[in-house]
Amino acid sequence: MTVGHVITLAGVLFTIGMLGVLSRRNILIVLLSVELMLNAAALAFVGFSNLHGNLDGQVMVFFAITVAAAEVAVGLAVVIALFRLRVTVDADRVDTLKG
């Protein structure tokens, strides 16, 4: 298993996540996709860490996981607040800030 495999997997995961963010209307799915992109980046960190033979990248991953946990907490809280207000999680129907 070379670094190329790892990076390819990370790229595929990132692309899936990005397509999810761009195409889905459900905010929960969008959040899940964002998580996918984040983990793709973490995987790339691990791959390069292995390639260069030092642990900096892996340390970075721990930070990323911590931040992601916090981000999900905030994101889900926003979604819940939104649902209470609008009784929907469809992003297209939340357009109050339209110019």
Binding site: V21, L22, S23, A91, D92, D95, T96, L97, K98, G99
Partner: protein, 624 residues
């Protein structure tokens, strides 16, 4: 010397500021006393300077632009015979008036405000007197204008007083603009603002060719400034209206200080006038300075003949006497002008205070036709007014006789025969209108409805003090000219033939007054009906005010309408409106980008990142 000069300058300011910021002081009896003390300090210091023969100059750099090739602007005090003489006038006449006002303004609820403004006015005047350079004189010149506005409009609930204050301020502003231009022209010509530097640069034939022409123009502009403050034609219109202020204000401004400032300033910078051709003398005719003075003297004296208000008579009389002073300036007799200024300050201050006493005694009645017979009721006021009148009309041996005769003498020596005749005739008119006011006020039967009474001692004592000086001051015409030797080209004496002529004319004036007004009003009314055209002309003050109103209404208002069109179409609709419309249009187009669709934003974000990556590889990708 320097310490006392600065102290006397700043003391009234301290009093004014203290009264302005402390409501308790304004309400207490100590407020007026503080203001009076500050003026009495000035009187004491002036006496000290006079006796000790102090001389000197002390200046302090205020704003120095010399590093950038500009002027070094200084604030400085100059103590020399001229400023000491003026300090004496302002200090002593001012003290008498300040004390008098204590009685006159008694019971006025805002007497503290009155004394604050009064002290501020004295401070401004002292600044003019002590200034050692043109810029400082200009600063205080404007301060006098501003504080005179405050004082004339003292009765803030009286619309006519407020209007009069505005008129005085605006008229002075017009003239001050000329003054400022003159100062700047002098600076361009000589590079100096201080009087010493200018004197060295212009006198003794130091200027040649076109420069003398520039100096003449500068002198003309400076004289416009002086004409504004000293109320010469055509800037005289503010002075009679300024009688709306309380009578002590009229006494201070129109006898000793503000109107004297113009004459004083011309004497201060007399070298500018001496060295400029055509200002003092055109060779074939008197220069415009003397002409202005002569015209003002005679026109004002004729208007005074028909006034009903006792203060208005004195106001026009002041104009007329200022005309005399300016005539003396025009004849190059600067120390004589200063002498007349000094004596006039005392006897005109006295007359105004007497008028104030009469007005106070008659319960704020100013119309002379509702007075009469006050001789018995107000004996002290009557006697002092008589002294003031004799001094003003130039009856020997009162002060006015000497100072007026010296002016006639100066005109005679310069061969200004026309003006000499005019001035002599004005002396007769002066006697006529003063005797008229005297008879109407003090003789005959009382025609009013109040119960006149003599004023309290705090008011009559200043009258007696000023009356004594008005009697004796004239005899010192010789020493006075010696004292101001620097300003005296040729010492003048009393010429017997001129004196007898003028005394004869004055006698004629008195005779005419007694003939017309001595026995009731019948002859006066008959005279008025016979010369109705002349009376209307005089009653309308030669239509100066109407002319100015017309000027403002038609000329100024049409220029203003033109400016308004420019403003509305070019400034508002063009320079402001076009950018506003453009911004609105762009905003209206661009706001559609804010669709409110989360996915649209995400696409934009992804597209932007992709674009940045592509650009990054295009520009930096080949650098491996």
């Amino acid at each position: 010397m320097a310490f006392w000069a600065w102290t006397t300058l700043l003391a009234p300011l301290v009093a004014a500021v203290a009264l302005a910021i402390s409501p308790n002081l304004r309400r207490s009896a100590n407020g007026p006393k503080l203001a009076i003390a500050s003026v009495m300090l000035c009187a004491a210091v002036s006496l000290l300077f006079w006796i000790s023969g102090a001389r000197g100059e002390s200046s302090w750099s205020w704003m120095d632009f010399s590093a950038w090739g500009g002027p070094n602007i200084e604030l400085g005090v100059l103590v020399d015979p001229l400023s000491i003489m003026m300090l004496l006038v302002v200090g002593w006449v001012g003290s008498a008036i300040f004390v008098f006002a204590l009685g006159y303004m008694k019971g006025d609820p805002s007497i503290g405000r009155f004394y604050a403004k009064f002290a501020l006015f004295v401070f401004s005047m002292l600044g003019i007197v002590l200034a050692n350079n043109f810029l400082m004189i200009f600063v205080f010149w404007e301060l006098v204008g501003a504080s005179s506005y405050l004082l004339i409009g003292y009765y803030v609930d009286k619309p006519s007083a407020v209007e009069a204050g505005k008129k005085a301020f605006l008229t002075n502003r017009v003239a001050d603009f000329g003054f400022l231009l003159g100062i700047l022209l002098i600076w361009r010509l000589t590079g100096h603002f201080d009087f010493k530097g200018i004197e060295e640069a212009v006198s003794g034939g130091a200027l040649t060719g076109a420069d003398t022409g520039t100096l003449a123009l500068a002198a003309f502009l400076i004289f416009i400034g002086a004409a504004g403050k000293s109320a010469q034609m055509p800037f005289h219109v503010w002075l009679p209206d300024a009688m709306e202020g309380p009578t002590p204000v009229s006494a201070l401004m129109h006898a000793a200080t503000m109107v004297a400032a113009g004459v004083y300033m011309v004497i201060r910078v007399f070298f500018c006038f001496e060295s400029a051709p055509g200002v003092v003398d055109w060779g074939w005719a008197p220069g415009f300075v003397a002409m202005t003075g002569g015209l003002t003297a005679v026109l004002a004296a004729t208007i005074a003949l028909v006034q009903r208000d006792i203060k208005k008579v004195l106001a026009y009389s002041t104009l007329s006497q200022l005309g005399y002073m300016v005539m003396a300036l025009g004849a190059g007799a600067y120390s004589v002008a200063m002498f007349h200024l000094t004596t006039h300050a005392f006897f005109k201050g006295l007359l105004f205070l007497c008028a104030g006493s009469v007005i106070h005694g008659c319960h704020h009645e100013q119309d002379m036709f509702r007075m009469g017979g006050l001789r018995k009721l107000m004996p002290v006021t009557f006697r002092t007014f008589t002294v003031g009148m004799l001094a003003l009309t130039g009856v020997i041996p009162f002060a006015g006789f000497f100072s007026k005769d010296l002016i006639l003498d100066a005109l005679h020596i310069k061969h200004m025969s026309g003006l000499q005749i005019l001035a002599t005739a004005t002396a007769g008119l002066t006697a006529l209108y003063m005797a008229r006011a005297w008879i109407l006020t003090f003789f005959g039967e009382y025609r009013g409805h109040a119960h006149p009474h003599e004023s309290p001692k705090v008011m009559t004592r200043p009258l007696v003090f000023l009356a004594v000086i008005s009697v004796v001051a004239g005899f010192f015409y010789g020493p006075f000219q010696d004292y101001l030797a620097h300003w005296t080209p040729k010492k003048l004496g009393i010429d017997a033939s001129i004196a007898i002529t003028s005394l004869f004319v004055v006698g004629l004036g008195y005779g005419a007054a007694f003939f017309v007004y001595g026995k009731g009003m019948d002859r006066a009314v008959a005279l008025k009906n016979r010369f109705r055209g002349v009376y209307t002309l005089l009653d309308n003050k030669y239509y100066f005010d109407d002319f100015y109103s017309w000027l403002v209404r038609s000329v100024q208002q049409s220029v203003a309408a033109l400016c308004r069109v420019f403003e509305e179409w070019v400034v508002v609709k063009g320079m402001v409106g076009v950018p506003v419309a453009a911004t609105m249009w762009i905003a209206d187009r661009s706001r559609r980008l804010q669709a409110g669709q989360l996915n649209f934003y995400a696409y934009c974000f992804a597209g932007g990142v992709t674009l940045m990556l592509v650009l990054f590889f295009v520009f930096f990708g080949g650098g491996r």
